[in-house]
């Protein structure tokens, strides 16, 4: 399949590239790349083109079709919002959301974007509150995202204010579809999502329930960091058991994972989920295996 996307920056690119003497004139190979790029997957699945990881247009399409598409996105643990009024900031893809526990005990996921001027209104990473108040003009939302307060809605002394026909009920925060299983909360932009169990498939669900085995979770802590790479590389690294035996000499040295250990790289039927599983071994690394691993000491 071929996806053709006309670059929106046609004119500015043409102007900025005219005169650099480096193939900037119309009709050259460089122009064809800029103006009408074709994304063609080369051949079969055994080779992956770089643009999958480096192209801005592909990334924007991933946000639209994957993170905002028919997927269940992890957003929080229930243990992070145990009480009514608790909230925690999270993300669905790059999009900031707030996960809240409303007064009725329900879990809600709303976009962290004020419907007035688009401000990312919730500033605390987590906390407890009765309502969400935008710091800019104090538009106020309840914990399910309904717009419940607009300062000076009717103006002052009969002047100014919002239009009479402004439909306040239609301007709440954007709400996402929510599901939770064994204390783990997921959200989706799609209202018509399949159940989480169907989404995971029976084999991945079984592994999920082996870890989240019904005991209540206790938080031990958080940390976060950025990584200078494409997000899919993290999935691939954990669908690549080959590297584990070579890059991680710690695993090999202490018998946690050795080529030859009982192991499995499971995928669900759709191919989107995976489980890399292995069993700790007390056996020594064979001399044949050592020869294959140059980093082993």
């Amino acid at each position: 399949m071929i996806l053709r996307i006309l670059q929106l920056c046609y004119h500015s690119r043409m102007n900025s590239s005219s005169g650099n003497g480096n193939g900037g004139t119309r009709g050259t190979r460089a122009d064809a790349v800029l103006l009408d790029r074709q994304y063609v997957w080369p051949g079969d699945l055994t080779e992956i083109p770089d643009w999958v990881y480096t192209d801005e247009t592909i990334y924007q399409r991933e946000v639209e079709r994957i993170f905002h598409g028919p997927t269940w996105n992890y957003v929080a643990l229930e243990a992070e919002i145990p009480n009514a009024g608790d909230f925690i900031r999270s993300n669905v893809g790059p999009t900031p959301v707030v996960v809240t526990r409303a007064k009725d005990g329900s879990i809600n996921v709303v976009e962290n974007r004020c419907s007035h001027r688009a401000a990312e209104l919730c500033r605390e990473l987590s906390g407890n509150a009765n309502e969400l108040v935008c710091p800019y003009h104090q538009w106020t939302y309840d914990l399910k995202g309904s717009l419940i307060g607009i300062p000076f809605k009717r103006g002052v002394a009969g002047k100014g204010g919002m239009p009479r026909d402004f439909n306040q009920a239609a301007h709440g925060l954007t709400r996402l579809n929510v599901t939770a299983h064994r204390g783990v909360v997921f959200a989706s932009y799609r209202a018509d999502m399949e159940s989480l169990a169907d989404y995971l498939g029976p084999e991945v669900l079984r592994e999920f329930e082996a870890t989240f085995d019904g005991r209540k979770l206790k938080l031990l802590g958080h940390y976060r960091h950025s990584l200078p790479g494409n997000w899919k590389l993290y999935h691939e690294n954990l669908k690549d058991p080959y590297h584990a035996t070579l890059l991680h000499t710690f695993l090999v040295t202490f018998g946690l994972l050795v080529a030859g250990n009982r192991s499995m790289m499971l995928t669900d039927k759709s191919g989107r989920h995976g489980v890399m599983a292995s069993d700790k071994s007390e056996t020594e690394v064979t001399s044949d295996a050592k020869k294959e691993m140059r980093a082993y000491k």
């Binding site: 996806l3 699945l45 055994t46 992956i48 770089d50 999958v52 990881y53 480096t54 801005e56 990334y59 399409r61 994957i66 269940w72 992890y74 957003v75 643990l77 993300n91 669905v92 893809g93 592994e207 999920f208 082996a210 870890t211 085995d213 005991r215 979770l217 206790k218 938080l219 958080h222 940390y223 976060r224 990584l227 200078p228 790479g229 997000w231 590389l233 993290y234 999935h235 954990l238 669908k239 690549d240 058991p241 080959y242 590297h243 890059l247 710690f250 946690l256 994972l257 499995m264 790289m265 995928t267 759709s270 191919g271 989107r272 989920h273 995976g274 890399m276 599983a277 292995s278 700790k280």
Partner: protein, 143 residues
């Protein structure tokens, strides 16, 4: 080689599973880490094609005694931004992104285990699960 802290490697059997380690990749943004007794959630937050943020939530269970909590935290040093394993993964991914950005316009190989086009593999020396992910990705992306 010997560890000075042998408790680091202890595995307390607590799960109904035949595996001591499972790393689950739940599409599109969740990793569930069960590395012996250290448990964690990793949430992927992409930030453009060249960078993502990793948000970690380490957890145990209500009912863990102080010793078990200590064990989970100690063993947690395997992972994380400076963990014995995490550090190596993070660096390797940077090498890959740098390779693609600085020598652009190419493609790279996921050919291991050719008898298995895409899907579950029972050998470690396989890239069939990566191929399975791209089968799905291409369908979702219309590519």
């Amino acid at each position: 080689m010997q560890l000075r802290e042998p408790r680091f490697m202890d595995f307390v059997q607590e799960f109904d599973s035949s595996w001591s380690v499972t790393m689950s990749t739940i599409w599109p943004n969740l990793i569930v880490q069960r590395e012996m007794n250290t448990l964690g959630i990793r949430q992927i937050v992409p930030n453009g094609p060249h960078e993502f943020i990793m948000k970690w939530t380490m957890f145990g269970f209500e009912g863990d005694d102080a010793e078990m909590t200590g064990h989970r935290l100690r063993q947690g040093n395997l992972m994380g931004p400076a963990g014995f394993l995490g550090l190596e993964d993070n660096e390797a991914m940077k090498f890959v992104q740098d390779g693609m950005r600085r020598v652009p316009g190419k493609r790279h190989l996921v050919k291991l285990d050719p008898v298995n086009e895409a899907g579950t593999a029972d050998t470690l020396i396989s890239e069939a699960a990566i191929r399975a992910m791209y089968k799905h990705w291409r369908a979702e992306m219309g590519l």
